[in-house]
């Protein structure tokens, strides 16, 4: 039912709405939140806490999950028909920019940035990631991601510490190393984007003309890889059951599967001697045509989520390690269970590594899609000679 308030078509909201968004909603609103980035684990606690504290602002929330590719399919018809069923979207960079291309989002920061003033507290790499949002999204969680390596210590004695050694190892153990198709996998795309830095490519941000070494390297590596799963889940299974012995990973993908029991706890992680973190983050965006009341509530919510106390909940079970995007959101502020999991399954050397190594933002969406396209054609399809 068209209960989403007075907001009509997308065009109406833009500038005209600016002055009209009240400080607080005229009555408590309910929010439907869509998560297309696996963000719910990180932020659900923050949102629930806010709703509990401010029942006069938000009476209740519902969540739904999906994949980034589903995002536009779900939101565009709603925006086009002026009939919003999704009030707030939590997304990674891919969904974010797909929506920007399709003109789905309200320019939240450009127009209401002052009402989410806690953005000033972003830690430095998070602030860099916020730039990618082009004024449309508010970054809520951040992690440095990878590329790291995970291996089965029973099978891998001399753990590779450079891409060359990795290639060497793979050639000596064909079929025992692998990674997922980058378009479908966080560690996959992190590995892909991290290589240009390690291999000294001319322009790590230009996959078409600047990644000669990377593409060459992946082509060679390809000879020793059986297949590329279409999801990280299968990669985890492969190393868990011994099908594979060495995979690329990220901080989160190293900690959480072991914590959940999807991998034996004995699986080890390692870092390349020299590498640049390719960071990652989650954003909150609001579809065009949102009502003033809901918008007002959302702004209040986001502001609250960026306080250190709340943001520290993003430690979670190491899923997005470390997770928080603001200064001062230290582990001791995180919930008790969260601290225990990190204690048990975290790696003590992660924090130093994060501190010491360079950090780079990932490719902008258009370039990333292009990189995927090249990978699909040159590497993925290479397995099959039409």
């Amino acid at each position: 039912a068209p209960d989403s308030g007075g907001g009509g078509g997308g065009g109406e909201t833009g500038g005209a709405a600016e002055g009209e968004v009240p400080e607080t909603p005229s009555e408590p609103v309910t929010l439907n939140i869509m998560d297309v980035a696996g963000n719910i684990k990180l932020t659900e606690g923050m949102v629930n806490a806010f709703v509990e504290e401010n029942p006069d602002v938000i009476s209740s929330v519902t969540w739904e999950a999906g994949g980034a590719p589903d995002l536009v399919g779900a939101v565009k018809p709603q925006v086009d028909s002026g009939n919003l069923q999704i009030d707030l979207v939590l997304t990674g960079t891919d969904g974010l920019s797909a929506g920007i291309d399709q003109d789905l989002w309200i320019p939240l920061v450009d127009e209401y940035g002052d009402r989410v003033s806690n953005q000033e507290n972003y830690i430095e790499p998070a602030a860099a990631m916020q730039e990618l949002a082009e004024g449309y999204g508010v970054l809520v969680t951040y992690y440095p991601s990878g590329p790291l390596l995970q291996y089965n210590p029973d099978a891998v004695e001399d753990v590779p510490s450079t891409p060359e050694e990795l290639l060497q190892w793979a050639s000596e153990h064909p079929g025992e190393f692998g990674y997922a198709r980058p378009a479908n996998s966080g560690p996959g795309r992190t590995f892909l984007q991290g290589l240009p830095y390690m291999l000294g490519d001319t322009d790590p941000l230009d996959p078409v003309d600047g990644w000669d070494n990377t593409w060459e390297y992946l082509r060679e590596l390809n000879q020793y890889i059986d297949n590329y799963p279409t999801g990280t889940g299968q990669v985890i299974t492969n190393i868990a059951d011994g099908t594979w012995n060495l995979i690329p990973t990220t901080t989160g993908w190293d900690i959480e599967p072991r914590a959940e029991g999807r991998q034996p706890a004995t699986i080890e992680a390692a870092a390349f001697d020299e590498f640049t973190w390719v960071t990652d983050a989650h954003y909150a965006v609001v579809p065009q045509g949102q009502s003033e009341d809901k918008l007002s509530a959302i702004l209040l919510l986001l502001q609250d989520m960026l306080t250190p106390e709340q943001n520290a909940k993003a430690y979670d079970s190491g899923y997005f390690y470390p997770g928080p995007a603001v200064e001062g959101a230290t582990l001791d502020l995180a919930p008790e269970e969260s601290q225990q999991v990190i204690e048990e399954f975290g790696r003590d050397w992660y924090d130093d590594l994060i501190e010491s190594n360079e950090k780079a933002v990932p490719l902008p969406a258009a370039e990333l899609v292009e990189a995927f396209d090249i990978w699909d054609r040159e590497i993925g399809a290479g397995k099959y000679e039409g």
Binding site: T230, D376, A381
Partner: protein, 308 residues
């Protein structure tokens, strides 16, 4: 008797008779809901989807040229797209063929009444309850490198190295057989039951052994049904999507058209291209179906009872 003029004289029969004669009467209204439904919810969106294929994105036009037809130009000039037709065929044709061919002897053997027949039939229907997800999941677990099947094969020494049943062509093929075989078995059983058993008895009394009976009597009479079964399993296999992704090699051997459409739709955010691939899927399917139907039209298709 009457001296009435005959032939062209139609004035004596009433109008309603004449309309009814052509099959037009008010009972045709029974069709209306279904037609309305199909037109509004299928034809309209389908036409819209086809229209979309003629509105290529700028980058497609830039890269491939061809104006409004850029999507089609792209599909046919870029081997990355074009190959998917062959990849899909390479999977769907053998799978459909296998399902049909393997079902024939089984249906044949299970034809007479025997104890436990219904139980066996029920077991064969079981896979329709599995769903693609469970089938894929099960194949990965059961037939994966460390699955029971490989553990059994290696521990009994039948093979040295685990066999790669999944994450490749074989995996998708297996999943197509598991979901498609029961379907063709049941369909072929039903066609088989329509062949009058006295025909085979007759052939027997004329001196035909089991093979000759099968080859000369049953098979020719079954052929049109086989064609229909083939078409139906082919359609199922052709639009294979979840299993191609979950138990196949989605980038390589099993990069089927449905995956390509999904890739354009969800990952490349290129709806016109996605629609184009989808429409071409339909076209390719229809071409294959038309060929099979053409072949089928050359077969004997009348009654399969003993009386001609």
């Amino acid at each position: 008797m009457s001296a009435r003029a005959r032939g062209g004289d139609r004035s004596t029969a009433s109008l309603s008779h004449r309309l009814a004669e052509r099959g037009v009467d008010k009972s045709l209204l029974l069709l209306l809901p279904a037609i309305l439904f199909a037109v509004l919810l299928f034809i309209y969106p389908f036409a819209y989807g086809v229209g979309l294929t003629l509105q290529p994105t700028e980058s497609t036009v830039e890269r491939y040229g061809g104006g409004a037809l850029a999507n089609y130009v792209a599909f046919f000039s870029d081997s990355f797209f074009r190959d998917s037709v062959w990849i899909t065929m390479r999977l769907a044709l053998p799978a459909a063929l296998f399902n049909v061919l393997a079902a024939i002897p089984v249906a044949f053997k299970l034809r007479p009444r025997f104890r436990g027949k219904r139980f066996l039939q029920t077991l064969l229907v079981l896979p329709i309850t599995l769903g693609t997800v469970l089938t894929a999941q099960g194949l990965l677990i059961f037939a994966g490198r460390q699955g029971w099947l490989n553990q059994f094969l290696t521990s009994t020494g039948i093979v040295d190295e685990p066999v790669a049943f999944v994450m490749n062509y074989t995996g998708v093929f297996l999943s197509l057989v598991i979901s498609g075989f029961p379907f063709s078995f049941l369909l072929i059983s039903s066609y088989l039951s329509g062949i009058d058993p006295s025909l085979e008895a007759a052939a027997t009394t004329l001196g035909a052994g089991w093979f000759e009976r099968f080859r000369r009597i049953v098979l020719p009479l079954l052929a049109p049904g086989l064609a229909t079964t083939f078409i139906l399993t082919f359609v199922l296999a052709f639009s294979v999507f979840p299993s191609a992704r979950l138990v196949g090699d989605a980038g390589g051997e099993t990069r089927v058209m449905a995956l390509m459409a999904y890739r354009s739709f969800g990952e490349q955010i290129d709806y016109p291209m996605a629609s184009t691939i989808a429409v071409l899927m339909g076209v390719v399917e229809i071409v294959v179906i038309a060929l099979v139907l053409l072949w089928r039209s050359t077969l004997y298709k009348g009654s399969t009872g003993g009386k001609g």
